[in-house]
């Protein structure tokens, strides 16, 4: 396993310094505000003028970014603070851009490797043999979705995925601690909280009442991390009601008089009831399958950002280590991700990623504009890709539903 991790680290370090995405820089910029003494970012951004957008993630996310900043500063040197202040559209032409890219992504790279190691350990713990455990870790470490989202873009999803995997590793020995960690991970980015609810409600070693208590531990800790801020209107607007948080409730079926049945919660609800009744939690592989289905139901029916596909990969890696025929799902998802990336109205999702190597790439046209100029219906193409993602989600939904009752 050591060699696999070192090989992954080598590849990551070959790519990360030469690729750039402004999100990674922007999030770290928040950590420098007020000479690094700001702890309530929401209040700060609502009472001081700053050209940066509002901070839409929960408070734990901000504190974790502040905690990683000293390492970023150590590697990047004193110039990195000024660089973080530079505009997204010009920061890539800095003479020290490779060093700054490396510095800002280093914590993320570390968490990707840690997650790979945890996948290996969890698989061993759950009875996989050494070969299959390594195979699961390798799928996570070397698949193109991980590379794109974490290594090339440096997206902060890893800040939540890694602690969730730590919690999962501790689940069999210390379930209460594990669910407390899930709550903290949910406080960084909310979706681990959804995973925690499924793990709690399918935790077969406990009776139903205790399972509900497990879920309550995660939700309670999630609530506590946000409690000091909930009374502020700006916090509710910036975080709780932001577009990112409410996307799950967009797709719906009109049932008249203004009422709607919401598709994502409906399907997630069905999955939860089926998972409980079929005792999915008794099988580690089936639990991984359930979490793949949960993520795909969410991504299949929301306006997703392509880099969010990394949410699926830890669970998909575990499942694919024992079910190679389902690799087709990974390739389909990869196709959807690439298609959506190329149709996005944002050059930084493709040309801009290589802008540190060739600044002129950002002067190339948007691919969607080229297709429109050639008379193609880009919206139709985009909708087809979303439908394909939903189809893969439907397939995994069916896989869970068709599981034999234990």
């Amino acid at each position: 396993m050591r060699k696999i991790l070192l090989l992954a680290a080598t590849l990551y370090l070959l790519i990360a310094p030469f690729t750039y995405h402004p999100d990674n820089k922007l999030v770290l910029y928040y950590a420098t505000l007020g000479s690094g003494k700001v702890w309530d970012i929401y209040s700060y951004l609502n009472t001081n003028y700053d050209a940066a957008p509002k901070f839409h993630y929960p408070p734990m996310h901000y504190w974790v970014v502040k905690a990683e900043y000293p390492l970023v500063r150590l590697v990047g040197g004193k110039g990195i603070e000024n660089w973080l202040r530079r505009g997204a559209n010009e920061a890539f032409d800095d003479p020290n851009i490779f060093l700054y890219n490396l510095a800002t992504k280093l914590p993320i790279l570390g968490l990707v490797l840690l997650t790979g190691w945890l996948i290996f350990k969890i698989c061993l713990q759950q009875g996989f043999d050494n070969y299959k455990s390594k195979w699961a870790a390798a799928i996570w470490l070397f698949n193109p979705i991980t590379f794109y989202s974490a290594i090339v873009m440096g997206q902060n999803d890893m800040l939540a995925i890694a602690p969730f995997m730590i919690g999962w590793y501790l689940l069999s020995s210390n379930p209460w601690v594990a669910f407390a960690i899930f709550g903290l991970a949910g406080g960084i980015k909310t979706y681990p909280l959804i995973w925690a609810i499924y793990l709690a409600m399918t935790y077969y070693k406990f009776p139903l009442f205790k399972r509900i208590l497990l879920a309550t531990v995660s939700m309670g800790i999630y609530y506590l991390t946000m409690a000091p801020f909930l009374r502020y209107e700006y916090f509710r607007t910036d975080v709780l009601y932001s577009g990112l948080a409410t996307r799950m409730f967009e797709a719906g079926i009109d049932i008249g008089l203004g009422d709607r049945v919401l598709i994502v919660p409906l399907l997630l609800g069905i999955l939860l009831l089926v998972a409980i009744s079929k005792k999915i939690g008794k099988s580690f592989v089936n639990t991984a399958k359930l979490l793949v289905a949960v993520n795909l139901i969410i991504l299949g029916f929301i306006h997703f950002h392509p880099q969010w596909f990394i949410w699926i990969v830890p669970f998909l890696s575990i499942y694919l280590a024992t079910h190679k025929k389902d690799f087709l799902s990974l390739w389909l998802l990869l196709g959807v991700m690439i298609g959506v990336v190329l149709l996005f109205d944002d050059k930084f999702l493709y040309w801009g990623l290589l802008s540190p190597l060739n600044n002129g790439l950002l002067n190339l046209p948007l691919i969607r504009d080229v297709l429109v100029a050639k008379g193609m219906d880009v919206m139709l193409l985009s909708n087809l890709l979303h439908t394909l993602a939903a189809a893969v989600g439907g397939y995994w939904f069916w896989k869970v539903l068709s599981e034999k009752i234990k």
């Binding site: 070192l6 370090l13 310094p17 020290n96 490779f98 190597l357």
Partner: protein, 183 residues
């Protein structure tokens, strides 16, 4: 392993360098943009040197508040000798509430290293409302170069290598990890 790493880099740098793209150059890019009324001075200009071959386009920044202005103007690109390289007439009709006047220069008319100037002259005041973009007191414009020549590709490769050499940690770390992976 070491040669593999070097080959990987060389391939990446080469591929990225040869992707056809335009190079943009903007003087005083990091300065904030101001918009004085064109009618205040009647004439704004800025000097520049064509630092690459293949200068193809110049975009000059304007602001037409509420799209109301109908002022008329001429934009010229001149050589140091006063010789006109290119000129074009515009009016407020051509501008949005912050937009560029686009001058597409005839191919090959400007050589690398020429001293040039861009001049904006108000030719007819209709309402005096048209504003022109400035940075650091100079007319703001963007130069677009066709950078797909062999020398431009080589230039980009050299630029990348200079940056890599200036930040040795980005070379050393993967080499160290690569060697550890083999051992």
């Amino acid at each position: 392993m070491l040669s593999g790493i070097m080959l990987f880099w060389a391939g990446l740098f080469l591929v990225v360098s040869v992707i056809p793209s335009k190079v943009t150059v903007e003087n005083f890019r990091l300065y904030s943009t101001l918009f004085p009324n064109l009618s205040e001075k009647q004439k704004f200009e800025a000097n520049f040197v064509s630092i690459y071959s293949g200068l193809e386009r110049i975009d000059v920044l304007f602001k037409n508040p509420n799209l109301e202005s109908r002022d008329e103007l001429k934009i010229k690109v001149l050589r140091n000798s006063g010789e006109i390289v290119y000129q074009q007439d515009f009016s407020g009709f051509n501008f949005g509430d912050t937009s560029h006047a686009r001058l597409d220069l005839p191919k090959g008319i400007v050589k690398k290293g020429e001293n040039l100037s861009v001049v904006v002259e108000l030719t007819k005041v209709i309402d005096g409302k048209l504003m022109v973009g400035t940075k650091n007191g100079e007319l703001n414009f963007i130069q677009y170069y066709n950078s797909n020549t062999a020398s431009a590709v080589v230039g980009r490769m050299v630029n990348i290598l200079n940056k890599v050499v200036g930040q040795p940690i980005v070379i050393l770390l993967p080499i160290v990890f690569g060697v550890m992976a083999i051992w």
